[in-house]
């Protein structure tokens, strides 16, 4: 399955047929730091994603002079 990462924008291929939580673990992403987007909605970490899914992992962190 395709995973879109941001800042900078790039795409990686990972194995589907498992839970979002496991995909995040493989990519070493702390769940608290991203939104997991599939199509026009968000998915929780226990959702199973398939090989033909496209996931966007959108970072939520902003910094600097807030």
């Amino acid at each position: 399955m395709k995973v879109i990462l941001r800042n900078p924008r790039r795409e990686v291929e990972v194995r589907g047929g498992r839970r979002v939580r496991e995909v995040l673990r493989e990519l070493q992403i702390v769940p608290e730091t991203v939104l997991v987007i599939r199509g026009d909605t968000l998915v929780t970490a226990d959702q199973v994603v398939n090989d033909d899914d496209v996931l966007e992992l959108r970072p939520v962190m902003s910094g600097g002079a807030r």
């Binding site: 608290e32 968000l42 929780t44 970072p59 939520v60 962190m61 902003s62 600097g64 002079a65 807030r66």
Partner: protein, 300 residues
């Protein structure tokens, strides 16, 4: 995972609340947290005009969206920092957001006020870019609010911002900063407007989820100068602790506000006066903003 309220399919898990919500119930949860913040700290009333500082990012646009939905009298303020494409794109998003909702938006260019945009200020001062940028933003927010008759400025600071600031202040035992940190800073001088942070009860993942689920077109890209900022390093640390123990950030910030902040408040507050140059409030004769403008002028 099921929504705690309706039992439908959840879209977001909030581990610190041991809960998950569907989209509709999450949006209501979010609005309730903002309502609670405004009520608890008497941030503003429905009659008062509120100046909402917007950057084009998720937090400030989510805040403005909630306040418009709640019927508050809001005006957006976009401070154009002049940071290359980043500022152009974030300004365009604020303008589009305002136009779609028929909401008034004021745009002020930092370069017009200081004499140069943030990238030049960074080079002239030889200090981290966030330093001159933050100083300019705080100054201009207050000045624009005063000139426009707004008694209060609302910013999009969220729980992560506040927890990271608190962490930084504690790490260096900046007791003055600890005394000043809070979700609602009162006006301590006739020429200082109130500053409030209605999103302080919500994490940045929650504000991002709200913005996404509301279809708000916000700028996902980070400010090019933010890379390596201390605040981001602190947020990363706190998120690792949060991962191991959900609720850590919440407990850290709320415990401070409820039980520790009062201990840092000074009995003898620093006397404030008006800057001899611009008339804005400062602790010395000439304010830091005027000194910065002087420095830029000399370098130019």
């Amino acid at each position: 995972m099921k929504c705690r309220r309706c039992g439908g399919e959840a879209v977001l898990e909030l581990r610190r609340h041991n809960a998950a919500f569907c989209a509709a119930d999450f949006l209501e949860f979010f609005r309730n947290q903002v309502r609670e913040a405004i009520r608890r700290h008497r941030m503003f009333t429905r009659e008062e005009p509120v100046l909402v500082a917007v950057s084009g990012g998720k937090d400030s646009l989510a805040l403005w969206d909630v306040l418009i939905g709640e019927g508050y009298r809001t005006t957006g303020l976009y401070l154009d920092l002049g940071i290359f494409d980043y500022s152009q794109e974030s300004r365009a998003r604020c303008e589009r957001f305002a136009a779609e909702r028929g909401a008034p938006l004021q745009v002020v260019r930092v370069a017009d006020a200081v004499g140069a945009p943030v990238p030049v200020i960074k080079d002239v001062t030889r200090r981290p870019p966030c330093s001159g940028c933050g100083l300019s933003k705080r100054y201009l927010m207050n000045r624009v609010a005063l000139e426009g008759g707004f008694p209060v400025v609302a910013t999009g600071h969220n729980l992560d911002d506040e927890a990271a600031t608190l962490f930084g202040s504690v790490m260096h035992w900046q007791t003055d900063a600890l005394a000043r940190q809070g979700p609602a800073l009162p006006s301590t001088h006739p020429k200082l407007v109130r500053r409030v942070k209605p999103l302080y009860r919500l994490t940045e993942r929650e504000t991002a989820a709200y913005a996404f689920l509301r279809g708000i077109d916000y700028i996902v890209e980070e400010c090019p100068f933010a890379a390596g900022a201390t605040s981001i390093a602190h947020k990363e640390l706190l998120n690792r602790m949060e991962e191991a123990s959900p609720g850590t950030k919440h407990t850290f910030l709320f415990g401070f506000l409820d039980r520790a902040r009062a201990a840092f408040e000074r009995a003898d507050p620093v006397p404030l006066q008006e800057c001899t140059r611009c008339g804005q409030v400062t602790t010395g004769a000439v304010c830091a903003f005027c000194k910065l403008a002087d420095q830029v002028k000399r370098a130019g």
